[in-house]
């Protein structure tokens, strides 16, 4: 009984311990929470060693974290030698198969001498986690409770391991994830960095592009402003010759608004129709061959405005240096003004040269300070000095006549000193010995710093010699004129007398023949004699008139019929007038009052006026030499006679001089007639004057008082009769 009770109390104690161990084991997972498998196994193995009197406990984990199998061994302090954990593992793996279920319960001489009871405890449902091996030398091993404890411990370990494994796996996953996140983050960071870099680069490029674009824009605006404000016309065309640009100057010059001509064919717009074809050919040739006659040159051509008027332009064409089909820009300038100015200049130069040549006048300038002398072309000619020669006083002096040289030099020195105007005449002597007279006139101009003489040199040689010749000719002329007028008079008298004489002789001859006939023609003879007497009287008349006209007898006052006196003078001078191709018209008014005066003297005046008129027309060939002589009553009981011609006339201011002795407009003649005529008329209490006609020529008139009561025209006629009968 006692033994039984003792046995019972021991059993109870054992069970109690077993329950405590069980509780400890069951609490293990709480301790393991968050731990790793090795910690699970260590605590488990320590707990098993402590709870059971084991000699050995080992664990082998087949696949803990994908790494090599883990083996942990716990050994009790055994007698004798103590094998290493490694040796034990080796021994275990040699004697045990992989499948723990086939393991034997006893292993002999596992750790030297003696048998060892082993309990394999698979981990996991199929032992896939590994295996725990508990071993003891005791023979009672494992007791029932011990087996239970080991089984629970194995379960707990499996759970713990699973959890740890899961945890580890999770951790691993988390770590992997972290790592991947980190890696990805790093990659992203790198990518980001690269993007940033790329972005920065791109921005740099964009900025540069922007700047360039801005520059380009700015430059375009600048260029547009230049083109728009250019004074020259700027026109651009494409490869087809169509206008692509037309600046304001072009609009203004050609008279087209820009919009109207853009896209139009350039030649149709600004090139005159006559030149279009040529332009087209040139353009086509350039496009075909690349050779251009106008590119890069300044050429002058004719352009046409919108209104069709043509004008000269200067043109410079350049090719626009761009890729693609060629385009051109043309700069055109209206050079009408320039051309006109050039022409004006050329013309005035030509005028000047011609004027200098014709007037034999050259011009010069002389800078006093430097003795710089400039000559016009005519001066070189006048001095017979080569056009290219440098003009110096030394050179000039070689042409001065030796006798005038000192005078010339003296004048130059005085001009240099006084700077007064120069008037000088001297002679030149040419290399061939010919002498020229020149007249120099110069005045000084310019400020005192740069005084300069400007002057003219005229070749007066011809004037000099003609002056000399003229004075000689004058003295000869007066003599010749005297002789000539006598000859003219004689011829005139002869002509007037020969006419009636001719009649007389013819009639006399006829008379003789008629009387000599058989039978004599007495009636015819009588008629011829009658005519002979008449012609004889005519001849006598002429002689007496001439004698009266040219005699120097004292004037006699009588009643004079101016009409009749005029007719007589005309009869005397008609043939001479006709010879001079003068066409005489008479307008002698009827019932003209008689005048008191010397008939012959008045006739002398009339004759003189007729002669003058005839002479004034002697060179007139482009119109009829009409002479009009008229008589008419004048105011204040006067009678007027006038003679009009269509001759060369005279200067209005010369009217007073006309009546001066020796004044004459005639090349020949003495010019004494008019002054004598005037004195005759004045003796008759009348006046004589001259008036230029409204057309060509002059009218000379005299006006004399009518006769006072008492004298009649009958008595005037009677006074003349004796002279006729005298002559007969």
């Amino acid at each position: 009984m006692e033994v039984q009770s003792e046995h019972a109390s021991g059993e109870i104690k054992h069970l109690q311990r077993c329950i405590n161990d069980l509780i400890s084991l069951l609490a293990l997972p709480a301790i393991w929470s968050g731990g790793d498998p090795s910690q699970v196994l260590h605590t488990l193995l320590d707990a098993l060693m402590r709870m059971l009197r084991l000699d050995l406990v080992s664990v082998r984990l087949t696949d803990l974290v994908g790494g090599a199998p883990v083996e942990i061994v716990r050994l009790a302090e055994l007698r004798g030698r103590v094998p290493s954990a490694h040796e034990i593992c080796e021994a275990l793996s040699q004697c045990l198969e992989n499948d723990s279920r086939k393991w034997p319960p006893l292993l002999r001489n596992l750790m030297g001498e003696g048998d060892v009871s082993i309990v394999p405890l698979p981990l996991g449902l199929q032992g896939e986690l590994g295996v725990i091996v508990a071993a003891a030398e005791r023979t009672d091993f494992p007791r029932q409770t011990e087996a239970l404890l080991l089984s629970v411990a194995a379960n707990q370990a499996s759970i713990g391991l699973q959890e740890a494994r899961l945890l580890s796996h999770q951790k691993r996953l988390a770590s992997e994830l972290d790592q991947r996140v980190v890696q990805r983050t790093a990659e992203l960071a790198t990518a980001n960095e690269e993007l940033k870099k790329e972005f920065a680069e791109r921005r740099l490029v964009e900025e540069r592009l922007g700047q360039e674009e801005m520059e380009l824009k700015r430059s375009e605006v600048r260029k547009a402003a230049i083109v728009d404000s250019a004074l020259d016309c700027v026109v651009t065309i494409d490869h087809e010759g169509c206008i692509t640009e037309f600046n304001p100057a072009a609009e203004h010059t050609f008279g087209y608004p820009r919009e109207e001509v853009l896209g139009k064919h350039l030649p149709d717009v600004i090139i005159p129709p006559s030149l279009r074809e040529k332009h087209q050919q040139g353009f086509a040739r350039y496009l075909a061959t690349g050779e251009a006659q106008v590119l890069g040159k300044r050429i002058e051509m004719t352009a046409v405005r919108a209104d069709g008027s043509e004008f000269p332009v200067e043109l410079a064409v350049t090719r626009i240096p761009l890729e693609g089909p060629p385009s051109f820009t043309g700069h055109l300038r209206d050079i009408t003004e320039r051309k006109r100015a050039e022409q004006e200049l050329r013309r005035s130069q030509a005028f000047l040269a011609e004027a200098q040549h014709l007037s034999r006048t050259g011009s010069f300038s002389w800078r006093v300070a430097t003795d710089e002398i400039t000559w016009s072309e005519q001066l070189y000619r006048m001095f017979q000095i080569d056009r290219d020669a440098q003009v110096t006083f030394e050179l000039i002096c070689t042409r001065i006549h030796p006798e005038d040289l000192s005078v010339f030099q003296e004048h130059i020195e005085r001009s240099r000193r006084d700077r007064s105007d120069v008037q000088l005449e001297f002679r030149l002597q040419m290399p061939d010995g010919a002498v020229k007279y020149v007249h120099v006139a110069a005045h000084i101009r310019g400020d005192h710093g740069q005084p300069e003489y400007i002057g003219a040199v005229q070749d007066v040689t011809e004037r000099r010699s003609s002056e000399e010749a003229l004075s000689k000719a004058r003295s000869e002329l007066s003599q010749v004129a005297r002789v000539t007028s006598l000859g003219v008079l004689t011829a005139s008298i002869a002509h007037e007398v020969n006419q009636p004489l001719s009649g007389i002789i013819t009639n006399a001859g006829t008379c003789l023949r008629m009387l000599a006939a058989d039978p004599p023609n007495v009636e015819g003879a009588r008629e011829t004699v009658r005519r002979t007497i008449r012609d004889g009287n005519r001849a006598a008349d002429v002689i007496s008139r001439l004698r009266a006209l040219y005699s120097k007898k004292e004037p006699t006052i009588e009643s004079v019929d101016l009409n009749e006196a005029t007719r007589e003078v005309l009869a005397l001078s008609l043939s001479e007038l006709q010879r001079n191709r003068v066409i005489v018209q008479q307008e002698l008014v009827d019932d003209l009052p008689l005048v008191a005066g010397d008939r012959v003297q008045l006739q002398q005046v009339i004759l003189n006026l007729l002669r003058n008129a005839s002479d004034a027309m002697s060179t007139i060939d482009d119109r009829p030499r009409d002479l009009l002589i008229r008589t008419e009553p004048d105011d204040d009981d006067r009678v007027r006679l006038s003679v009009s011609d269509v001759g060369i006339g005279f200067e209005p201011q010369a009217t007073d001089k006309l009546f001066e002795a020796f004044y004459t407009t005639k090349d020949e003649g003495m010019g004494i007639g008019l002054s004598v005529s005037r004195s005759i008329i004045e003796r008759h209490h009348g006046r004589l004057w001259a008036m230029p006609n409204s057309g060509p020529g002059v009218t000379f008139s005299f006006s004399v008082p009518c006769k006072v009561e008492g004298l009649t025209s009958d008595s005037a006629r009677a006074s003349r009769t004796p002279s006729v009968s005298d002559a007969a």
Binding site: L501, G503, N507, G509, D535
Partner: protein, 131 residues
């Protein structure tokens, strides 16, 4: 003389006289009649040209200085018209230098007034002879 007088006027050779001086126009026809010629007178060259005498006259007595067309002017005009009438010039001028010039131009004679009837007859005979 008798023979000449018996000839009818229409048979006589016609001599034309052109002179602006009336005394010549009056006196010459009678003399020409006495010399056996028919005569017609004209006071100007223009009058003569307008007449039917151009073809009939066998001789022309022509004054040099006349108003309008002068004697030499008429001579030139006749030459232009192809009328070969022999011309005897007469003139009151004393300028002898005109004579050779006129003869050179084809005139038969140039008589200075006053001239004798024999000189005139000689000239007319020369003119007829030339024809």
């Amino acid at each position: 003389m008798e023979l000449r007088q018996e000839r009818r006027a229409v048979d006589r050779p016609l001599v034309s006289v052109v002179d602006d001086d009336e005394s010549v126009r009056e006196s010459l026809p009678d003399l020409l009649g006495e010399l056996g010629f028919a005569a017609r007178t004209f006071s100007s060259a223009e009058e003569f040209l307008a007449s039917d005498c151009l073809d009939q006259a066998r001789c022309l007595i022509l004054d040099i200085a006349m108003p309008g067309m002068s004697g030499p002017d008429l001579q030139r005009e006749l030459k232009l018209r192809g009328q070969e009438i022999p011309i005897i010039f007469i003139t009151a001028s004393t300028d002898k230098s005109t004579r050779p010039r006129l003869l050179e131009q084809g005139a038969v004679e140039c008589l200075f007034k006053p001239f004798s009837d024999t000189a005139l007859l000689k000239a007319i005979n020369t003119a007829f002879h030339r024809k």
